[in-house]
């Protein structure tokens, strides 16, 4: 019976050690420091305290992520692919609620675009779409190669994806600065508010995606490839790609 | 098989009674001649409230009695060391879903239909009414009468005439809550909302209190509604209106003068 076995095991393991990891703790308090930094800067107008607290928070978080990945990478938390599915559900809801706010405001607005808007570019977003779709294909190719055991091929295509991702970010940054130059800032009117929030949120997801890729690339260069991790990262990237179609169609071309 | 047949029959019965409950409660008065007497939402509210309270009290008491009886009846006694709940047959298991569902739904729809009816009373304002616009702000209720007369935190109204408030706010959310008239609605910047009530007894005062958290002095944001007899109200309104006209024309003259000079 399970019962007696458990007892026996208990005696054996009376002093057995319990798994620990310091990194979740480190990251959490790094996040606390970031939250405080925001308050210092925006609420209490204490720039020095804000910088100090950022200076504590960011290294804590980076150290935490580095420690975590090196501790866990290759140990195959093999269920991460399925988990990413659930996580994407949550992420999708963030976008959905922002889009809902957008639709609500736009459909209730007396005139659209509201006063103060400038025409949004049409060409750049088309190019960005092409780039992002291409990056989805390259990462797919990378995974295929990894699946058949071609590690160096995997790294090559992964690098291509990363480069495409940075191109995307660069164009996005170019476009933002262009618009801001024309006087279209986050505070201009509702349209600008929504434009910068939605594209900004999407952009931050691109950043996170790239960070995940790089976190996987570094160990991979040292020969430590985790296929589960690679597939999970790829899934996230496809999601970011799909969201972009909504951003383009709703924000730029509608 | 026989069980299943019974089940279907029971379900059908439930469905029919549900729709009857709904139809029975739904307003059948639409379009019937004679101008209807004004329905006072506050009176109707008390009526529906009593009905719903009786309804949920019955449900609550039935459930509580059953629970208490089961707790008592099946307490541990010698010779009764484990539970012996019978295993439900498939038909019984389904019946225990379908029948309660319809019984509960029937009650829900009955309440919904009555609630809807009262809702129409609250939202359809009688045509013969006094219309007042209200602007709320931290922390006062500012009323404006049709003739431009303005008052703060005190609204004088004639007895017997429906009063409609069109509300907006200049800062945060506020809420014009009149407990005696069983009505409240938010006012907010950027939108216009409305509510109406029927003051009846001349000489009475009714508390108005802010019911939307609006800041530090939220709980001190209060006013009153003073009900006057129609004659008193008219006298007051005309007098104040005349005063207002005097000052207004004086002001107009004052602003018009320089224009003339130039």
């Amino acid at each position: 019976m399970a019962h007696e076995q458990a007892h026996a095991a208990h005696d054996d393991h009376a002093h057995a050690h319990w798994d620990t990891s310091i990194w979740p703790f480190v990251i959490s308090f790094g996040i606390l420091a970031l939250a405080l930094a925001f308050s210092f800067h925006y609420v209490y107008h204490k720039p020095f305290a804000a910088v100090l607290s950022l200076g504590i928070g960011i290294p804590l978080i980076l150290a935490g992520i580095a420690g975590w990945t090196s501790e866990a990478m290759g140990k195959g938390e093999g269920l991460s692919f399925g988990a990413m599915g659930w996580f994407i559900l949550a992420e999708a809801m963030i976008f959905l609620s922002l889009f809902a706010a957008y639709w609500y405001l736009r459909l209730n607005a007396p005139v659209w675009p509201p006063a103060g808007s400038v025409p949004l570019p049409k060409l750049i977003p088309a190019m960005m779409t092409v780039i992002l779709v291409a990056s989805s294909l390259t990462i797919h190719r990378a995974e295929d190669l990894l699946h058949v055991g071609d590690r160096s091929g995997y790294i090559r295509w992964l690098l291509a994806t990363i480069v495409l991702g940075f191109c995307f970010l660069g164009m996005s940054g170019y476009e933002w600065s262009h618009l801001m130059h024309e006087g279209f800032n986050i505070g201009t009117n509702v349209q600008s508010t929504i434009f910068f929030c939605i594209t900004g949120l999407h952009g931050s997801h691109v950043v996170v995606g790239l960070a995940i890729f790089i976190a996987g690339l570094l160990p991979a260069l040292r020969g430590n490839v985790d296929e589960g991790f690679a597939r999970t990262a790829g899934l996230y990237w496809h999601f970011v790609d799909i969201i972009w179609f909504f951003v383009v169609s709703q924000v730029y071309y509608w | 098989m026989r069980n299943l047949k019974k089940l279907v029959a029971a379900a059908a019965g439930c469905l029919i009674s549900t729709s009857i409950a709904f139809a029975g409660a739904y307003p059948a008065t639409a379009g019937s001649g004679a101008p209807p007497a004004i329905k006072d939402p506050a009176v109707e509210w008390d009526h529906l409230w009593r009905e719903v309270i009786i309804d949920i009290t019955i449900i609550g008491v039935v459930f509580a009695l059953i629970t208490a009886w089961l707790l008592w009846r099946y307490r541990r006694r010698p010779g009764n060391e484990t539970g012996h709940a019978p295993k439900l047959s498939a038909a019984a298991a389904v019946a225990w879903v379908v029948i309660p569902t319809f019984v509960f739904l029937a009650d829900d729809l009955y309440i919904a239909a009555n609630g809807w009816q009262l809702w129409n009373v609250y939202r359809e304002v009688p045509a013969d009414r006094l219309e007042i616009s209200l602007e709320t702000g931290m922390y006062s209720f500012d009323y404006t009468y049709p003739n431009g007369l303005r008052t703060q935190n005190e609204l004088k109204v004639p007895a017997g005439k429906p009063v409609l408030l069109r509300m907006t706010s200049r800062d945060t959310l506020h809420n014009h809550f009149i407990p005696d008239f069983r009505v409240k609605e938010d006012s907010m910047p950027g939108r216009i909302t409305y509510l109406w009530f029927l003051p009846k007894e001349a000489g009475k005062q009714h508390v108005v209190s802010c019911a939307a958290y609006c800041g530090v002095m939220h709980s001190y944001m209060a006013g009153k509604i003073v009900v006057l007899s129609p004659e008193d109200y008219k006298a007051w309104y005309d007098k104040e209106g005349a005063k207002l006209n005097d000052t207004k024309s004086a002001a107009e003259r004052a602003t018009a003068m320089p224009a003339k000079k130039s």
């Binding site: 208990h10 990194w23 | 059953i66 541990r76 709940a85 809807w116 950027g190």
Partner: protein, 523 residues
């Protein structure tokens, strides 16, 4: 005891206990805030503070902490963590490190919430944080935003973790219809969290963006709309009440089945009718919090019907719970006493939601103490009692020791009396027109004696809670050793030793063809 192995632990049981300690501390603090409010309200005019903002900060922290840092973490943090892997026969959760991250983020959220009492210009936006007030107050709205965001994120990663765990890590033979009701309930709650917390996160982020970065989401002078926030907020916060309700009902099912030594009445009805029904309806009723907010009429009527329909799945779950008593063999140890209490008190709380669901009645009742009474009955009474019942019930499992039965029962009866005095009176004065969130009520002098009665009652109920918590602390330190299965339960978590070792079982358990967690008769 190795303190490092506690703080940096990744073991689900220890993470769970960290959750329990944190959420109980939050409960104590928010409870003290409630006491301060009650004392303040015991007389007209200033009583212990002459600054309304102080009262508003108490109220803000009371509401936000009780919901976000006490009940949700206690239920989806402690109970889920401690019980789910044991109930499904897994040796841990899918991602132990993520689990540790989630508990420490929870602590960070609690720390942020507690800093409220120490920073200048603390947040005073109420737990709902409605703009425009939250974007123009001098209070620190950023703290509100970050508290919610961090606790929300902790909860999302917890949800991802547990859904993955239950889907992939069940013991051999553990089919979907053999899961404990508690596991099903918690799954439902986590699905709700995953879908709806992000919406809340967005909503509270947007108010800080509006306030500090100059965006215009809620600013009508620039094309924004204040109602956007209320819709987003309640789109989460209504489902949130079922995030509380589902797990606490799950706990009750475990307790009632064990103490009636009976199988759960109509298991499939409870799971597929009750839990699935609630999850399906939870997202389409939020406008019932906006009945007097100026929403379109058709939305108010539509959501009246959906809200009333929630009584169907909830009613099915209640039938399942009460039906489990039928032909049982019931004993009344402390956990069962609390659970029986809930069976009655939840009726009051749930049924008083019915008038609130009807917009034409809510037009008088909304934002009064009637609402406060309603939700204290369902959450503060039914929910807290269920949490206390659950802690008592699994106490021998997670501490290996026994609490004191006499003090347990005494604590129950004292709280039972106290809660009814307080929260029944609330509903009574609410119907008579007492608005909520009032620091003072000079325009309603007729309610002074009722408020004094409530203050008295709240002291009584507070004493009851303190007795319970002290009972646990003393029991955990020097209670008599409890056996591995003191209640004679049939469920899987009781088959290992108390407290369970790292890894839970020496060899992974598997369950037989005809095993169910409630198979008392077959034994």
């Amino acid at each position: 005891m190795n303190i490092k192995e506690w703080i940096f632990t990744t073991d689900h049981k220890r993470v769970g206990i960290l959750y329990l300690i944190g959420s109980m501390a939050a409960f104590a603090i928010a409870g003290v805030m409630a006491m301060m409010m009650r004392i303040e309200l015991s007389s007209l005019g200033p009583t212990i503070t002459d600054n309304p903002t102080t009262y508003n900060v108490w109220l803000y922290s009371h509401g936000a902490i009780m919901i976000l840092a006490f009940q949700i973490p206690a239920l989806t943090g402690f109970f889920a963590n401690f019980c789910i892997p044991l109930m499904i026969g897994a040796k841990d959760v899918a991602f132990p490190r993520v689990n540790a991250l989630s508990v420490w983020l929870f602590y960070v959220g609690v720390i942020l919430a507690l800093l409220t009492f120490f920073v200048p210009d603390p947040p005073d936006v109420m737990w709902t944080g409605y703009p425009p007030y939250s974007t123009i107050t001098t209070g620190n709205t950023a703290f509100y935003t970050f508290t919610v965001l961090i606790l929300g994120f902790a909860s999302i990663i917890g949800g991802v973790n547990f859904l993955t765990t239950v889907v992939y890590m069940r013991a051999p033979g553990m089919g979907w219809t053999k899961l404990n009701i508690f596991v099903w309930c918690t799954l439902g709650a986590f699905v709700l969290q995953l879908i709806f917390v992000p919406v809340l996160g967005t909503a509270v982020t947007l108010i800080s963006l509006d306030k500090y970065l100059g965006t215009h989401f809620f600013d009508p002078t620039n094309g924004g709309d204040v109602l956007t926030y209320q819709n987003l907020f309640w789109f989460y916060s209504h489902p949130a009440v079922y995030v509380i309700f589902l797990p606490f009902f799950g706990v009750l099912f475990e307790i009632v089945a064990t103490f009636a030594r009976n199988q759960v009445f109509n298991y499939k009805m409870v799971v597929f009718g009750g839990i699935f029904g609630i999850v399906a309806l939870a997202g389409v009723v939020w406008v019932h919090h906006l009945y007097v907010s100026g929403m379109a009429d058709w939305l108010r009527i539509g959501m009246m019907i959906t809200t009333l329909m929630i009584s169907v799945p909830v009613g099915l779950m209640l039938i399942g719970l009460v039906g489990t008593l039928y032909k049982g063999s019931i004993t009344f140890e402390t956990p069962m006493l609390y659970a029986s209490g809930v069976m009655f008190l939840f009726l009051i709380g749930g049924l008083t939601g019915i008038p609130l669901a009807v917009p034409s009645l809510t037009i008088h009742l909304a934002r009064t103490y009637y609402v406060v009474g309603h939700f204290h009955y369902v959450m503060a009474v039914a929910g807290t009692f269920a949490i206390f019942a659950g802690v008592y019930y699994w106490f021998p499992k997670f501490t290996g020791r026994m609490y004191n039965e006499f003090w347990g029962k005494l604590g129950f009866w004292i709280t039972f009396v106290g809660t009814n005095i307080v929260f029944w009176t609330m509903m009574d004065i609410g119907v008579q027109g007492m608005p909520r969130r009032y620091y003072d009520y000079a325009q309603f002098p007729q309610f002074v004696s009722a408020h004094q009665l409530m203050t008295l009652g709240s002291i009584i109920l507070g004493i009851g809670f303190v007795i319970a918590v002290v009972n646990w602390i003393v029991g955990a330190i020097r209670g008599p050793k409890a056996g591995d299965n003191p209640w004679g339960s049939h469920s899987l978590e009781w088959t290992t030793v108390s407290p369970p070792p790292h890894g839970n079982w020496p060899s992974p358990p598997s369950v037989a063809e005809n095993w169910t967690p409630y198979g008392y008769e077959k034994r």
